[in-house]
């Protein structure tokens, strides 16, 4: 059995793979070892997005926004006011996803921005800021951002399971190991989905705290 975060519980088969053959057992653990890092990343990103979802539910009213004292990101298009960082939504190694705002001609504008390291090849060619979503309603901006991240998680899950299929086909040719592939696929999809499943009910007691704590 592989627990969340990728730790193995030695010698225990996943529930859906009870009575598995020796080959299935070997294939399961070999395939999982190969994608363990990806599986952990899936868990981590799922957890972080769930936190973002909680934050989105508990946004402070707009008239209680704190003013000043926040970091600023220059608009790469130039000639427009810089983005003021409201909150860090997620940090993954060199990348940080930020909720930002600025004053535009039509009032306040909000954005979710992926900031890459300035030293990266991507930033050198395209600038370090990738604006993922913009709008005048911060809740809607965050909701749209979460929806698109969910799709990206789905893409990542499909790629991970493709790697599993590939590895099993190479290492265990001419053997029917669909049960193993299906089990690992199910686990990855569950983890990716978990990031969003128990949102409002599970976190309802924390909402009051969030409302006071998060201001944009």
């Amino acid at each position: 059995m592989i627990k969340r975060k990728g730790q193995q519980r030695d010698g225990v088969a996943p529930p859906s793979l009870k009575r598995m053959s020796d080959t299935e057992h070997a294939a399961y653990f070999e395939a999982f070892a190969a994608i363990k890092g990806d599986y952990q990343a899936l868990c981590l990103i799922g957890d972080k997005l769930r936190e973002v979802e909680t934050t989105a539910c508990g946004l402070a009213p707009l008239d209680s926004q704190p003013q000043g004292g926040h970091a600023e990101l220059p608009d790469s298009a130039g000639g427009r006011s810089p983005w003021e960082v409201c909150a860090s939504l997620m940090r993954l190694n060199n990348n940080e996803v930020l909720l930002c705002k600025r004053v535009s001609e039509h009032g306040l504008e909000y954005a979710v921005i992926d900031q890459a390291s300035v030293a990266s090849a991507y930033a050198k060619a395209n600038g370090p800021l990738d604006v993922l979503r913009t709008g005048d309603n911060p809740r809607q901006v965050l909701r749209d951002y979460l929806r698109s991240e969910r799709e990206t998680l789905g893409l990542m899950t499909n790629d991970i399971t493709a790697n599993v299929r590939l590895l099993i086909a190479e290492r265990f040719p001419k053997q029917d190991l669909r049960r193993v592939v299906n089990e690992i696929t199910r686990m990855c999809k569950k983890v990716a989905h978990l990031g969003f499943s128990e949102t409002l009910t599970e976190f309802a007691p924390n909402l009051q705290k969030q409302r006071r704590g998060v201001g944009i």
């Binding site: 890459a116 090849a121 493709a162």
Partner: protein, 76 residues
Amino acid sequence: MSGNHESAKVADPTPPQGLTQTDRLAYSVGETAELLGVHYFSVYRLIQRGKLRACRVLRGKLLVPRSELLKLLKAE
């Protein structure tokens, strides 16, 4: 978080060596992330948003053509 981003923008669009000195035709998402210097979830995001084209080959595995990577790095 703030400060020198503007000055660093488009400072040196030379693609990383791993991309120029190779006869590879395509890269996995992990390799692409390494070449771009970003987290691989950002690469999936670029693919999802259509900013980076990828192909599905070999049982559905995503591969990024070298030409697409060079296009993204404005090195073509």
